[in-house]
């Protein structure tokens, strides 16, 4: 199975009759387990034994999200219940912590086998919040920073797992929340230790390891406005950031114009130049139309050069048309290309990607070609 052109593992092979019989037995056992769990839950029997049954079921099928809900219900009940080993009545914090720890282990093991299951990530998230409520701030920080390390390892194993990236943003947010001192006044700049800079570096590292990383590019785009705000970047610094990012993506495009994730980031950068870009998303605040025109013209110039070596790359033509459209909106009179050029690019797009003919026709209409 391929995802965006990257192959993932081998498919299932042909099974023998023996294997098929074995599987039928496994299916029957599974169905029995499901029925048993559902029965117990319906009877509101939230005991440790039932929790173990739920664990067994989830190990077989972590995608059965309803069972995760049942698990949380069971856990809540058990948190409030007294420790069976304890003589004192009332909820036992120790008991609750043990349960939390064992669920952290469970989700960790399951994530290694099923790194893309939403429900496991979700449950781990829930468990960590509960864990945090048991401890002091310093402990809580440790909890989340270990979590960050775990995410780092998972991304090292599969750098394109968007679940892991999304979770990473979440973990970083928790760490930042905890690092703000608990005073009534807003924290000073020195006191605020944000992870934005290091996270930005992290995306750079991931991209250098593999340019085809949508999630890394996406994360980068999410971080840039925050980065600029935290640095309290002025006009000059902002221009530099924009120019540096454009140079970076220019090198990437020139290295591999066939990679979609690179163009995806290019589109993001172009979007920050647009008149329609909301102020909080802009990289540079004081762009004049003349500035915009220069940027669009420069982009089109180097992208056009790629056509000298690669005539059959559809992304190039698509980008040229998009930039041309933007350019025309801010045109001050001089024109770096002609309508004939644009028609030619559109024709190439239709040739290279005939399945999207409707879309290209639409594009042509919007550009008045």
């Amino acid at each position: 199975m391929a995802s965006h052109g990257v192959l993932r593992g081998l498919g299932a092979g042909v099974r023998s009759e023996e294997a098929r019989q074995k599987e039928l037995q496994q299916i029957a056992a599974y169905n029995d387990l499901v029925e048993l769990v559902n029965t117990k839950v319906a009877e509101r029997q939230y005991t440790i034994e039932v929790l173990d049954l739920i664990t067994k079921l989830l190990n077989e099928n972590p995608e059965y999200y309803t069972i995760w809900n049942h698990r949380r219900r069971a856990l809540r009940y058990l948190f409030a219940a007294p420790d069976p080993k304890d003589s004192s009545p009332g909820p036992s914090k120790r008991h609750a912590q043990d349960l939390v720890e064992s669920d952290l282990r469970l989700t960790f093991l399951l994530l290694r086998k099923f790194p893309k299951c939403y429900w496991i990530w979700n449950h781990r998230n829930w468990i960590l919040r509960i864990a945090e409520s048991f401890v002091q701030t310093a402990e809580a920080r440790k909890l989340w920073s270990e979590e960050l390390q775990l995410i780092g390892k998972m991304l090292h194993a599969d750098s394109r797992n968007f679940h892991a990236w999304s979770y990473r943003r979440f973990v970083v947010a928790q760490l930042e929340r905890l690092q703000a001192p608990a005073t009534s006044e807003p924290p000073s700049r020195e006191a605020r230790q944000s992870l934005t800079e290091s996270e930005f570096e992290y995306t750079t590292k991931m991209i250098k390891t593999n340019l085809s990383n949508f999630s890394a590019w996406h994360n980068r785009s999410e971080l840039i406005p925050r980065l600029l705000a935290e640095r309290e970047a002025g006009s000059v610094a902002r221009r530099k950031m924009l120019d540096d990012e454009l140079a970076l993506i220019c090198t990437a495009i020139n290295t591999d114009p066939f990679d979609q994730s690179i163009w995806y980031y290019h589109q993001y950068l172009m979007s920050t130049l647009s008149l329609d870009c909301p102020p909080q998303d802009r990289i540079v605040h004081d762009l004049s139309n003349h500035d915009r025109q220069k940027y669009y013209a420069h982009e089109m110039e180097y992208i056009r050069e790629i056509l000298e070596d690669e005539e059959d790359c559809k992304w190039v033509y698509e980008a040229l048309l998009h930039c041309a459209g933007c350019y025309l909106e801010v045109e001050g009179g001089t024109q770096a290309f002609t309508t004939r050029d644009m028609r030619y690019w559109l024709d190439q797009l239709k040739r290279l990607d005939p399945l999207r003919k409707g879309r290209w026709d639409d594009l042509g209409r919007s550009l008045k070609l």
């Binding site: 250098k208 340019l211 090198t251 290295t255 591999d256 114009p257 790629i306 690669e310």
Partner: protein
């Protein structure tokens, strides 16, 4: 056993070079009675590895007796007592294991697959091969006009440029302009599926690879060197054909990252191929094979003609012992030619040359081998500027102490070129000097010991003459710097003949011991 005289065997293998050893391994579970002999007192044949003392003894033997594959060995031990630069001195003889024929094993290679499927990989330690470097001579005024002999004493400060291993390396390489990046990438994309794009290179098969690069991919001449380097071709660029180059480059690029991020080839510790030969022979011995070293097929120059009878082949060994065997395997020397004769050298250096071993990727094992290529014409010999693009390239495989071949703080340079004779040795020396002076390290690395020798494909463990389908010969060891898949094909062919239809899968075994660790 006291004597081999009048013993009977199913298989008699002559020589413990890589191919014969792999055959022994393949037969190790077959239940056949195997006698495996080697006229040398050591394993490995032309792939042997020596301590310093063993190297010195071997050198003497080669120069006196003329061993088939090797000629003109000379050893030099520079006197460093007055030198202040080096505080490192030569260690004891046994601290070194010097490989005569060092080779890289690509991770996408039949050999590595076989080592894994036969389970002998468990007895081997592998280290990663890291960066590949292309030497570029510094441009000083010496480039223009005539070079007089007095000028040649000045050392040209050359530079080493890392060879890009794929897209991300090309992306980060600031020495490449956009056009160069695009051209390289276009070629890299092509090479990934070159078998399916025959129409692009059919016409260039027998033509030179540089012409293919220039004409089909507009790769500028300045970028030919790194791509040629990946082929490890012994010939100069114009004589390296497209059909030779393409599969080798494809193998290199496809191997990268296939068992671990950032590297595409490995070597085995403690002597490379010789270690593999020993492990293979050991496996055969465990399976009942009998090993006798220092036992040749005969003491005279041309081995006794084997007598073929109905009960098997009768062979006369050294010490007038006669053995009978059903199958006789050895090196086929019938097609030995004096050419090609390569020049090789082994140099022990008093520095780790750490600069060459930059980390290859996050989480990747630290590399212990680096490859340095001196393209055709990048080195000029004293007094002669006529080298140009006709002289062959020089390759230096640099082994760090992690290979187990030398003590900490030192490293070994294995240099090789297809230029023969005195000029070949001079070229090797130039390369070694150029390499050491291009690395910025203090104190300056000093040469502690070096040995140079000529080598050709050949063998002393030759198959006696006689035409019979049970006399099977391997082609002699090639001088390739990587282990080619065809070696496994040859071994399999011989193995197939011996075991017939009941052999099971070639070089695929279960572990012998019942309980083994599951981790790898």
């Amino acid at each position: 056993m006291d004597t081999l005289d009048n013993t009977e065997w199913d298989v008699l293998v002559i020589g413990t070079g890589l191919k014969q050893s792999l055959l022994a391994l393949a037969l190790s579970r077959s239940g056949k009675k195997i006698l495996h002999i080697d006229e040398n007192a050591y394993y490995g044949g032309a792939e042997a590895a020596f301590s310093l003392q063993e190297a010195e003894e071997w050198a003497k033997k080669v120069n006196e007796d003329s061993v088939a594959a090797f000629t003109t060995v000379s050893i030099s031990k520079p006197d460093l007592s007055e030198s202040e630069t080096s505080q490192v001195s030569l260690s004891a003889s046994r601290s070194y294991t010097l490989a005569l024929s060092p080779q890289l094993i690509y991770t996408r290679s039949a050999l590595l697959q076989s080592l894994i499927s036969s389970k002998v990989y468990r007895q081997l330690d592998f280290v990663a091969v890291g960066s590949w470097w292309v030497y570029s001579a510094g441009s000083t005024g010496l480039d223009n006009g005539g070079v007089s002999s007095s000028d040649s004493s000045a050392t040209l400060q050359g530079t080493l440029l890392k060879v890009p291993n794929g897209r991300e390396d090309v992306f980060q390489d600031q020495g490449l302009d956009f056009k160069a990046k695009r051209a390289l990438m276009k070629f890299l994309r092509f090479i990934g599926e070159y078998e399916e794009q025959g129409e692009l290179w059919e016409d260039y098969k027998a033509r030179s690879f540089p012409s293919f690069l220039s004409e089909q991919f507009k790769v500028p001449v300045s970028l030919h060197a790194p791509l040629l380097a990946l082929t490890l071709s012994p010939a100069p660029p114009e004589q390296t054909t497209t059909e030779y180059a393409l599969p080798r480059i494809a193998r290199h690029l496809r191997s990268i990252g296939s068992i671990g991020a950032g590297f595409g080839s490995v070597i085995t510790r403690f002597g490379g191929m010789s270690e593999i030969a020993q492990v293979a022979c050991r496996a055969c011995a465990v399976g009942g094979g009998v090993y006798v070293l220092g036992k040749g097929a005969s003491t005279i120059e041309r081995p006794e003609v084997a007598q073929v009878g109905t009960s098997g082949i009768k062979l006369c060994l050294e010490d007038s012992e006669t053995v009978t065997t059903q199958w006789l395997i050895g090196d086929d020397t019938a097609h030995d030619t004096p050419e090609p004769l390569y020049c090789r050298s082994i140099t022990i250096v008093s520095s780790t040359l750490a600069h060459l071993f930059s980390p290859i990727a996050e989480g990747a094992p630290p590399p212990a081998c680096a490859v340095v290529i001196f393209p055709s014409g990048s080195l000029s010999l004293d007094g002669s500027r006529a080298q140009g693009s006709e002289s062959p390239p020089v390759y230096i495989l640099v082994h760090a102490s992690d290979t187990g071949e030398c003590p900490r703080g030192q490293s070994i340079l294995y240099a090789s070129t297809s230029l023969s004779g005195e000029t070949g040795f001079q070229l090797l020396n130039k390369a070694v000097q150029a390499l050491l002076s291009s690395i910025d390290v203090t104190p300056l690395p000093a040469i502690l010991w070096s040995m140079q020798y000529g080598q050709r494909p050949g063998s002393s463990n030759a198959l006696p003459e006689g035409a019979d389908e049970r006399l099977l010969g391997f082609s002699p060891s090639s001088l390739d710097l990587t282990v080619d898949d065809s070696i496994l094909d040859q071994v399999k062919e011989v193995w197939q003949k011996i075991v017939g239809d009941n052999g099971g899968e070639f070089l695929t075994f279960e572990d012998r011991e019942a309980n083994l660790d599951d981790d790898e």
